[in-house]
């Protein structure tokens, strides 16, 4: 027996895992019917199961601590941010000396030192800098993000890793579950997403509250609230007066910018008889800050960590699939089944394959899309992404684009930069969404015969 296994099984014997083993080595009334209790499950959690934690902030610190204490060792943490003074009240893995350092690195260092056996790895970069190969290595991804854009990106990434069998059914081994937590003041939510199987971030996009905005005419002419005055300076006065020159964008993190907005907003407030424009409120409106509450983070992270544990072990059925929590008055939670949208841009979009001669022209693809009984499109708009840049190949609905892409129809697809296995994006009235089509080049017959 390999020494690593010996070590892990002795680790496994420790009293430390006594309670976890009760869940994994015995059956019980709440277990999933297919659950087979076994000591191997703890080995899987400790030695094999790779979990990616996205975000090392309020939720991320909690998640990392929770998962490490549950026995997960192969943890990776990604966060692009550095530590600020205002984080220290709730992001408990950081100390005053850490201000200015990478959140991911500090969090990982702390937990690896504190939890014996934990081998967490830090990535101090934006999630967009890591590629498919990176994300594919994980069994589960859990995220505590404060941005919808980042959630949507991550969701799109996990969708793009899905693989389908020849009969177009989903290959379950390509599914990387996503556990998503979010908090806002005393409110929070946690959810489990099985990409391609259950509702994804994009399916429920309209559940996110819209950014708080005020009608432009109110802030311009009839301000009533201190927020109206600040919004006015942000939306109208900043662009008009261009105080830093060169159309410098307003940066809510730049104290000088905030001070300028604060001063102007105060002037405006005085003019309209409005009180209570403060520096803090200015910061709040500019950055859309809602005070973070440590206990909300702890509760939501605990819930997410439990779901990760259930996914990894199958010891219990997962939450189905969206839990909201409100702790403003007592504690209230409600769990419901968010439904998968059949027309979701992200998860209903299983790539289709079209076979084509390598020397075909774009016109031939266009005709195929219109004539092939599988598609029967009316006026497909075709775009692609080449070397990370979007490229419009042909779009007939917009006159100016049609005129400038018309010549592409006559060109060979290889001359347009398309290659075997490239994805093209096709939008048409006949499909609820833009669909992805993978071009598969047919082998040249002549070459075949010459061999």
């Amino acid at each position: 027996m390999a020494s690593g296994e010996n070590q892990s099984s002795s680790d496994n014997q420790q009293r430390r895992w006594h309670h976890i083993r009760k869940l994994l080595e015995r059956s019980g009334p709440f277990c999933h019917p297919d659950f087979e209790p076994s000591p191997e499950i703890l080995d899987f959690i400790m030695d094999s199961c790779k979990v990616l934690i996205v975000g090392a902030g309020g939720l991320g610190c909690e998640l990392l601590k929770d998962l490490a204490l549950m026995g997960f060792k192969k943890l990776h943490v990604v966060d692009m941010d550095t530590i600020e003074l205002s984080n220290l009240n709730r992001q408990f893995l950081f100390r005053k000396n850490d201000i200015g350092l990478s959140k991911a690195k500090c969090a990982v260092e702390f937990v690896n030192k504190r939890v014996p056996g934990c081998e967490a790895v830090a990535h101090h970069c934006p999630i967009q800098d890591l590629d498919e190969g990176f994300y594919r290595q994980f069994h589960i991804v859990v995220c505590g993000l404060d941005s919808i854009v980042a959630r949507r990106w991550l969701n799109g990434m996990l969708m793009s890793l899905l693989q389908y069998n020849d009969d177009r059914s989903l290959d379950q081994s390509s599914v990387i579950p996503l556990v998503d937590g979010g908090t806002e003041g005393f409110k929070g939510n946690a959810r489990v997403i099985l990409p391609g199987m259950s509702a994804c971030i994009e399916c429920t996009l309209d559940l996110y509250p819209p950014q708080k905005t005020f009608p432009l005419c109110t802030i311009a002419n009839t301000p009533r609230l201190p927020e109206h005055c600040i919004e006015y300076v942000k939306v109208i006065q900043w662009a008009k007066e261009n105080p830093w020159g060169n159309n410098t964008a307003l940066d809510g993190d730049d104290p000088q910018h905030v001070a300028w907005v604060f001063e102007k907003a105060q002037d405006r407030a005085v003019k309209h008889g409005i009180s209570n424009v403060t520096y803090r409120l200015t910061q709040g409106v500019l950055k859309n800050i809602i005070p973070a509450v440590a206990s909300t983070n702890a509760a939501i992270a605990a819930c997410c960590a439990t779901e990760v544990f259930k996914l990894a072990s199958s010891c219990c059925a997962n939450m189905n699939n969206y839990m909201v929590m409100n702790m403003a008055d007592g504690v209230y939670t409600y769990t419901f089944n968010a439904e998968k949208r059949p027309d979701c841009v992200a998860c209903s979009n299983s790539t289709r394959i079209v076979e084509i001669e390598p020397d075909a022209t774009l016109q031939m693809i266009y005709d195929k899309l219109c004539e092939d009984p599988v598609f029967m499109m009316k006026s497909p708009g075709i775009t692609t992404v080449i070397n990370g840049r979007n490229k419009t190949l042909y779009m007939s609905s917009i006159k100016s684009i049609e005129e400038r892409t018309r010549d592409n129809l006559k060109k060979k697809i290889t001359d347009l930069g398309l290659y075997n296995g490239v994805d093209i994006l096709v939008a048409d009235v006949t499909t609820p969404n833009t669909i992805t089509i993978k071009l598969k080049f047919l082998e040249n017959q002549d070459v075949e015969m010459a061999r």
């Binding site: 819209p210 311009a220 779009m395």
Partner: protein
């Protein structure tokens, strides 16, 4: 239910191995959605779009030439900037033509409810086009952005109409100068 534990036992470790052909950068959800919006754009005959770069579907201009109402004969250009959070957030729309209008100020800010507080992800570029076109047919003095113009529209429609025509043809209204924007 997905049995991750048993599934992943069979899964080979592919750590860090991006397979060939799998490295094409994926289009974002915002990109997919705007492509769909634009392919289905159904412009009224008074409107037209211009794309400075046909590969960049996120930045374009809309030109409206109203054929009735106060603004008939004018040519008004709007810039659209679609952000990465579309359609959770609306596109940023500015009017690039100086216009004497109750709901458009001289910096080009446009007061249209669906561009801000009433935006919903189900709305499309087409909805905004119709909203903007409507502003020219029925300027709304109740929600003024250019207060002077709004007050005038309410108190003296004839004078307002004259001022709109003067502004469109090039000239001063009050202390504000307007470039010619007639077709």
């Amino acid at each position: 239910m997905i049995k991750l534990f048993s599934l992943k036992q069979q899964k080979k470790d592919e750590e860090g191995s991006a397979r060939a052909g799998g490295s094409q950068k994926k289009a974002s959800a915002a990109q997919l959605r705007i492509t769909k919006d634009l392919n289905e754009l159904n412009l009224p005959k008074t409107c037209n779009t211009e794309f400075p770069d046909p590969d960049d579907l996120l930045n374009f201009k809309l030109i409206i030439c109203p054929d009735e109402g106060f603004y008939r004969g004018g040519r008004f250009i709007f810039s659209f900037k679609v952000g990465p959070n579309y359609p959770h957030e609306p596109p940023k729309v500015k009017c690039e033509t100086a216009v004497y209008h109750p709901n458009i100020d001289l910096e080009g800010n446009v007061c249209l409810n669906i561009l801000r507080e009433d935006w919903k992800p189900v709305l499309t570029v087409n909805s905004i086009v119709y909203g903007l076109q409507y502003l020219f047919l029925e300027p709304n003095p109740e929600d003024p952005l250019n207060k002077e113009a709004a007050d005038e529209l309410q108190s003296n429609r004839r004078l307002f109409e004259q001022h709109v025509q003067r502004a469109n043809a090039r000239g001063y209204v009050g202390s504000s100068y307007f470039e010619r924007c007639l077709k």
